[in-house]
């Protein structure tokens, strides 16, 4: 890439970052992510912590799919004017991909917020958290299901904006992702729980079972699953770039193949390493007390 091309991409990226950060849907999603976590973290004693990444994944990740797809499509409405601009579709795609740093930052902020809240207001000693399971398991869940989900939502949105041009595609993909992930999570508590790991959002914690106050964490390695999810993110970005015929270089082809191979290996490792089987916590007395008062 020439210096001029790099400078052009930088200025385009800066514009897209600002557009993303100012989008009302993203702002609402980010505020709900950080606000709900603050409310939940300060109210009573935090519980079911490893299921909390659903908050950033939904409010920031899912809304980022729609925001990124809309931003991508909005530029294409000026196709004729853009044809005369001194940059290619791939440059514009790179700039849009760079804007995914915005939801990624929200994901990181959310994780820091959760760690601070639990340090100030610690969970019950039987809670699945640092100390009751491995640090790598906990960090893998928080990063993979929280931070990477925020990043991946935006990258998937760019991919959708580039490839799917029928009206309603972003909303349909967003709903499809949620329905698909939740459907596959139905196998979490079976002997075949590893079969759920290929989906782009994997449940690792059951939530507290109301009847006995226990909670289950599921088999597999969340850390390797996070690596697999990062490969999905990279694949989404590369395939979005692939849309521009002039960008279909041998280098890009090799990158897609490389990411696919690493992703498949990471998926295999996420199924074979980590916990061998689902683990059930002792009953949480506070949860039992809540159930009894209902």
């Amino acid at each position: 890439m020439t210096t001029t091309r790099i400078a052009t991409t930088h200025s385009l990226a800066l514009i897209e970052v600002k557009r993303f950060a100012r989008h009302p849907l993203f702002i609402v999603g980010a505020l709900l992510t950080l606000g709900l976590t603050a409310v939940m973290g300060t109210r009573n004693e935090p519980g079911d912590l490893l299921s909390w990444p659903v908050v950033p994944a939904f409010f920031t990740g899912v809304s980022s799919i729609i925001v990124a797809a809309r931003l991508t499509r909005s530029a294409e409405r000026a196709d004729e004017a853009l044809d005369t601009a001194p940059y290619t579709e791939a440059d514009r795609t790179r700039a849009l991909l760079a804007a995914s740093v915005v939801p990624f930052a929200v994901g990181l902020l959310w994780m820091i917020e959760l760690l601070v809240l639990t340090a100030v207001n610690p969970p019950h000693p039987v809670e699945w958290w640092f100390g009751t399971t491995s640090d790598l398991y906990v960090l893998g869940v928080l990063v993979g299901n929280g931070v990477v989900a925020c990043l991946g939502g935006a990258l998937l949105g760019v991919l959708v904006g580039r490839w799917l041009h029928f009206p309603g595609a972003p909303a349909l993909v967003a709903v499809g992702i949620v329905v698909g992930a939740m459907a596959m999570n139905g196998v979490s508590e079976t002997a075949y729980s590893q079969f759920r790991l290929w989906t782009p959002w994997v449940s690792w914690h059951s939530g507290t079972q109301e009847e006995d106050g226990t909670a289950t964490i599921f088999a597999g390695s969340p850390a390797w699953s996070a690596v697999y999810l990062l490969c999905l993110c990279a694949a989404a970005a590369l395939v979005a770039l692939w849309h521009d015929r002039s960008a279909r270089t041998p280098q890009l082809r090799r990158a897609i193949a490389g990411v696919t191979v690493v992703g498949v290996v990471a998926l295999g490792l996420s199924a074979s390493l980590g916990l061998d089987e689902n683990l059930v916590s002792p009953p949480n007395p506070n949860k039992l007390a809540k159930t009894a008062t209902k």
């Binding site: 009206p167 309603g168 909303a171 967003a174 709903v175």
Partner: protein, 197 residues
């Protein structure tokens, strides 16, 4: 009737309407086949059901259509025929799911389906009558997020869980009746203002 169908066939954006309907059908089929594993999915399918109803009023040629001899209510009626597809899928799917799985009441799920579809169509009609000829993308985004949020359950006390999976409390019935009324009121107001001219 044939002219209504002819118009609906050409005017409605079928890929997204049928795509969302297909997603509802697949989800309901999975819930019927594996009720103990994915029965809870039925609550999530309200979102694609609403999306299927969001686009039927999209009119890319609004300025030309406004001066056409057909009235706004005739055109809206013709487009509304497209809703028969998601409605039929929801009706038959819910009957089968409740029969196989005994999750809450059949009437409850039918109320939820009718309310979500009416609200999406009503919101789209109101936007169309206010000069936005392509309201579908706005309504579908709102519908997707609004109808998925309750599934997150996070800030809701159990009695406010608005789906009839284990009982269907009176508060939940009230929520969906309000949604249905709001949708019907929006639709009526839009028809009074004349959709797309």
């Amino acid at each position: 009737m044939s002219s209504l169908l002819w118009y609906a066939q050409r005017a409605v954006p079928w890929p997204v309407t049928l795509g969302a309907t297909g997603m509802v059908a697949l989800g309901l089929a999975a819930a019927v086949l594996w009720p103990d594993r994915v029965g809870f999915l039925v609550a999530l399918l309200v979102a694609p059901l609403a999306i299927a109803s969001s686009f039927v009023l999209d009119e890319p040629s609004a300025p030309a259509v406004e001066v056409a001899p057909r009235s706004a209510s005739w055109r809206t009626g013709a487009r509304a025929l497209a809703l028969l597809a998601p409605a039929a899928v929801w009706l038959s799917g819910v009957v089968l799911v409740v029969q196989r799985q005994a999750i809450g009441s059949r009437g409850g799920w039918l109320l939820i389906g009718a309310a979500s579809m009416t609200l999406a169509m009503g919101a789209a009609a109101l936007l169309a009558a206010s000069g936005r000829p392509m309201p579908g993308s706005y309504v579908s985004t709102g519908a997707a997020l609004a109808f998925l949020v309750p599934y997150m359950r996070l800030p809701l006390p159990d009695r406010a869980w608005p789906y009839p999976l284990a009982g269907f409390p009176r508060e939940a019935v009230l929520i969906w009746l309000v949604v249905l009324t709001l949708g019907a009121a929006a639709l009526a107001a839009a028809l009074r203002k004349r959709i797309h001219g």
